[in-house]
């Protein structure tokens, strides 16, 4: 298996408040290609912070985040944005689709940033919308889609640029059980058939049940790293 992400002794300390908070405290992990991993733990355990550090949205206080041999914590903000565009897909809890764009425009937005041709964009979006079961919703704006449909568009957006891995922060938190189940089926299928790496930050048992690897986090420290299969 090829290593996609390696984190070494990662620390993130917040000093904005009177009390110093160590959100991530010396975490070292390796994520390999094709993983379907859930980072779990109670609220405030550092799941989202760890995910933000993996995605380069936040900078660590110390330690390294190595992706494809590059320590992204040393990159300039400009280079890290560029790195994210090329390598990382994000799925957020609140979908975070751009309200003035249609479903298709939202999904292909990142491809436009990558200067992909129109034909390439159209083909990829058609392929993705079919794969995630929202064909026919291309020209609809987010406000007219259900929560489950919006999150599917968010998954399509995350996949559009063919990233090395997808980081999903509580992707099912706002979905009902049917929509959650359907979304997880799609993600698992993409993982199995296209070998796409998914890393979730979640406390949703339904996600944990489907994950092949579960990393338990408590007070910023990994307490258990379990491979289920």
């Amino acid at each position: 298996m090829k290593t996609v992400i390696e984190i070494k002794n990662l620390q993130k300390t917040y000093t904005e408040t009177a009390v110093e908070v160590k959100a991530v405290n010396g975490v070292s992990l390796i994520f390999e290609e094709g993983e379907f991993t859930a980072i779990v733990g109670p609220s405030g355990c550092g799941k989202t912070t760890l995910l933000n550090l993996l995605g380069g949205l936040d900078a660590p206080t110390s330690g390294q985040v190595i992706i494809d041999g590059i320590d992204i914590s040393t990159l300039s903000s400009r280079k890290i944005i560029d790195f994210r565009m090329k390598n990382i897909g994000f799925v957020f809890q609140a979908y975070n689709l751009i309200p003035v764009l249609t479903a298709k425009e939202n999904a292909e937005f990142i491809m436009q940033l990558q200067n992909k041709s129109k034909v390439e964009r159209e083909t990829r979006i058609a392929e993705l919308f079919k794969a995630i079961g929202i064909e026919g919703k291309e020209d609809i704006r987010p406000s007219r889609l259900s929560g489950g449909q919006q999150q599917r568009v968010a998954v399509a957006r995350a996949l559009a640029s063919k990233p090395k891995f997808i980081l999903a922060d509580e992707p099912t938190a706002n979905l009902d059980s049917v929509a959650t189940s359907e979304l997880l089926d799609i993600m698992r299928k993409l993982n199995e058939e296209e070998n796409i790496t998914f890393i979730f930050a979640t406390h949703d048992q339904r996600v944990i049940d489907r994950a092949r690897r579960v990393v338990y986090l408590e007070d910023g420290v990994v307490t258990k790293d379990e491979l289920k299969e």
């Binding site: 897909g89 975070n96 940033l113």
Partner: protein, 388 residues
């Protein structure tokens, strides 16, 4: 839409207010100057300091020819002005007698159209027309005879009775209550001043060239004997009034611009705060902040442009309407204007410069406001903004 509307409103308010301000100065100058004294007059040298008929001049054909030879000048109107007592029945009032060339005077100040009763005078008439305010005071009507008593040239008695041919409504209420027009020849006869005039009113197209025309005349006439004067020199009190009003106007327009600036900035601020999450999403999925800033600036610029164009398109018909149908003032405001001899109306002026200047000011204001989103994006904490 809110931003566009706010810019549109800003443009409409700024241009509308400036058009009214400039329109009010215009009406002051037009009523008191353009429609009465003319923008440039030539007098005997001492006349303006001591406006008696004795300081008038005998019409000098060479002088008239010299003035008319100047390129910008279309012609001259000769006037003989002095004062007399006018009496009818038991009413007597001090009046201003204006001996004029009726056809030319009509062409200049449109007297014929202002006749409210009777007829306009002709050059060889032996009759007069008078202001409606004066006619009312003297209780005189068309066909009645008005007795005039005054001092003629070199102390001669001026006394005669003339039939009233018409009553004219003069826009300036002060003048309307004191002016009597009579043909120049009749006035010269009444004041015993053969070929005498007190003013040569110079007619030219563009009031903006007043100074140039006056200077050109003074350059070719014998300035030891005559002098050309601009309306600014003849009526300094009007200039003072306009300057005083302008100072107040500048404060008003400054307050308006401040309100506009806060309004535009408020909407841009609101728009930016509302879209912070959207901006954060774009940056998180790989859009460079600089690119986002550029797009945001371009977007704000386009919205401002649409707002400005909409504002201009909206303002033109409104300004035009009030130019054609000025607001008629009433009450104390009207009285104070009338005391200065200014018609109590508030027209707008459809001036390209007002549109241009105010549009540029709004562009500067909106341009400054457009910087805020750029700062906001530059300083944006993506994680915090994603949380919303």
């Amino acid at each position: 839409m809110i931003t566009i509307s706010s810019v549109t409103l800003a443009v409409v308010l700024a241009i509308f207010m400036r058009s009214f301000q400039e329109g009010s100065y215009g009406i002051m100058v037009e009523t008191a100057v353009g429609k009465f004294s003319g923008y440039v007059q030539v007098h005997q040298k001492d006349y303006w300091n001591d406006k008696t008929i004795d300081n008038g001049m005998v019409v000098n054909e060479q002088l008239i020819k010299t003035i008319k030879n100047i390129d910008e000048i279309n012609g001259v109107n000769l006037r003989l002005e002095s004062f007399s007592l006018a009496s009818n029945k038991m009413n007597t009032k001090g009046t201003m007698i204006m001996g004029v060339e009726p056809a030319k005077e009509d062409a200049m100040i449109g007297l014929k159209n202002k006749i409210v009763k009777g007829e306009y005078i002709n050059a060889n008439d032996q009759s007069i027309i008078l202001g409606s305010g004066l006619a009312k005071y003297l209780d005189i009507d068309v066909g009645d005879t008005l007795v005039l008593l005054g001092q003629g040239h070199w102390g001669q008695s001026a006394i005669n009775a003339y039939p009233v041919k018409g009553i004219v409504k003069i826009p300036s209420p002060v003048l309307d209550k004191q002016v009597i027009f009579m043909p120049l020849l009749l006035a010269q006869s009444y004041f015993s001043f053969e070929n005498g005039v007190t003013s040569v009113v110079v007619i030219f197209e563009d009031p903006d060239y007043t100074e140039e025309v006056s200077a050109a005349i003074n350059a070719v006439i014998d300035t030891t004997q005559y002098q050309a004067m601009t309306w600014q020199k003849m009526t300094p009190e009007l200039i003072q009034q306009i300057e005083g009003d302008k100072a107040g106007g500048i404060i008003m327009i400054a307050i308006l611009y401040m309100i506009i600036a806060f309004g535009v900035f408020g909407t841009v601020l609101m728009m930016t705060e509302e879209r912070k999450r959207e901006f954060a999403v774009m940056v998180s999925i790989g859009m460079q902040k600089k690119k986002l800033m550029l797009i945001s600036f371009y977007e704000t610029l386009m919205m401002n442009l649409v707002g400005i164009i909409a504002g201009i398109l909206l303002t033109i018909p409104i300004v035009y309407y009030y130019k054609v149908n000025p607001i008629t003032l009433t009450g104390e405001m009207a009285e104070s204007m009338e005391q200065f001899g200014i018609e109590a109306v508030l027209p707008t002026v459809l001036d390209f410069n007002i549109f241009l200047n105010n549009t540029l000011i709004i562009i500067v204001i909106t341009g400054i406001a457009a910087i805020y989103p750029l700062f906001s994006i530059l300083k944006m904490n993506v994680i915090k903004s994603l949380r919303g």
